[in-house]
Symmetry: C2
Subunit: 235 residues, 2 copies
């Protein structure tokens, strides 16, 4: 039986971290809202009771129904035997995946610092200030953290020769940052050699290569998490 | 051997979610920075290499060293046999714990919407707007989510009669909200009956009762996550 992934059909967003892992591992899945539309997603989520996902993405696998990107990736990795085989190491990987989620939320806040429900145009002044702090302080702090983590095992991946869910997510993160902040990322080139090597290596994974060449891969756009607004990207 | 918890010694903050669970379960732990000071915490964290915690709190248990509040709680709960005993349900609990972490981050952003490294006084205008959206939109959406989740099993806890890490965290969250937003929370009284019942029941857990009466329990203050600023609490 294949996995069911529910996420907004028109943006890469947080769902793309799950899609990319599923594709890298060549797992069968239905990207349900891309077949049935966003209304079907809203309807499905609202019909769920009790301990339900707070927001997309969420994954269904038999009686397992879970939200939270990092948790979905932990579940898939564990179920498919794609972890490190060592609990202490798997926990470190999960922590890094959650660190990535935190950074993704900070990326979102660069263009929506006041209210996720308001338009960017209605919070541009605060966004300008927020993006400044992101570029100067927050992003470098996170990139050093991830680059140092990669350095520990000799690369190219977090575990060395074997890729994990953290590596595909770091690739997606870096692709998104290149799209949203091209000036900044050009300015930072050479500063995070382990991350750059990782970003160059992930597309060599067979499943990833096939995915990136397919129509299933969604392009970044200004409705998603990673948005390019020139005024927020002053290197 | 007892657990080592590293967190800032002067605030409840994110560390309190871990402390409260440890105390509720009556587990032995060293709250290391409360014995050795904040400098020791900074030194310990910076001396760690490779896949290390991004920020406090972090937990050490033999060769396990992990950050991220929700992950620490998942680890402790699993290791001590305090989960539901069912994988699909344990995953839902972890998702809810991660939802709580997301909300805690949104609480922090009400007073630090622009930059975590700047003072509140330097971002008050944006904070005023951010807190408005938090009170009107974000907080009610989360509280409905958690109240509905509690309703599923007949209460008072997420699993019914048996408390879990989600319940102690919801208690801490509600206590923090009562401290930071007393007018708002008074205004919302009666709207979330399952959460109110939970908040009233958690102090009956023997370990929690002893903890709340001890000097180990830190009071909320304006250096932590849950801060009371009158201008951000207009019901």
């Amino acid at each position: 039986m294949s996995y069911q992934l529910w996420y907004w059909p028109e943006i890469p967003g947080r769902g793309e971290f799950v899609r990319l892992f599923l594709e890298a591992a060549e797992l069968d899945y239905d990207d349900v809202a891309r077949e049935q539309g966003a209304d079907a997603l809203v309807e499905d989520l609202h019909a769920r009771q009790g301990m339900r996902p707070f927001a997309p993405p969420y994954l269904i696998d038999g009686d397992v129904v879970i939200g939270q990107t990092a948790l979905i990736l932990l579940y898939l990795s564990d179920r498919e035997g794609l972890g490190s085989g060592d609990l202490a190491t798997d926990l470190k990987l999960m922590q890094l995946q959650m660190d990535i989620s935190d950074l993704v939320e900070e990326v979102h806040a660069t263009h929506h610092p006041i209210a996720p429900g308001l338009y960017y145009a209605d919070q541009m002044d605060a966004a300008f200030e927020k993006a400044h702090d992101f570029r100067e302080n927050r992003l470098p702090k996170y990139l050093i953290h991830f680059d140092n983590a990669l350095a520990g095992n000799g690369g190219p991946f977090m575990l060395g020769e074997q890729w994990s869910h953290v590596d595909t997510s770091l690739f997606q993160l870096l692709e998104g940052l290149d799209y949203a902040f091209p000036n900044l990322m050009a300015h930072l080139q050479g500063s995070f050699p382990n991350l750059e090597a990782l970003q160059g290596t992930i597309p060599d994974i067979e499943g990833v290569a096939a995915y990136l060449a397919s129509e299933r891969r969604l392009e970044f756009n200004e409705n998603g998490i990673f948005r390019h607004y020139e005024e927020l990207d002053q290197a």
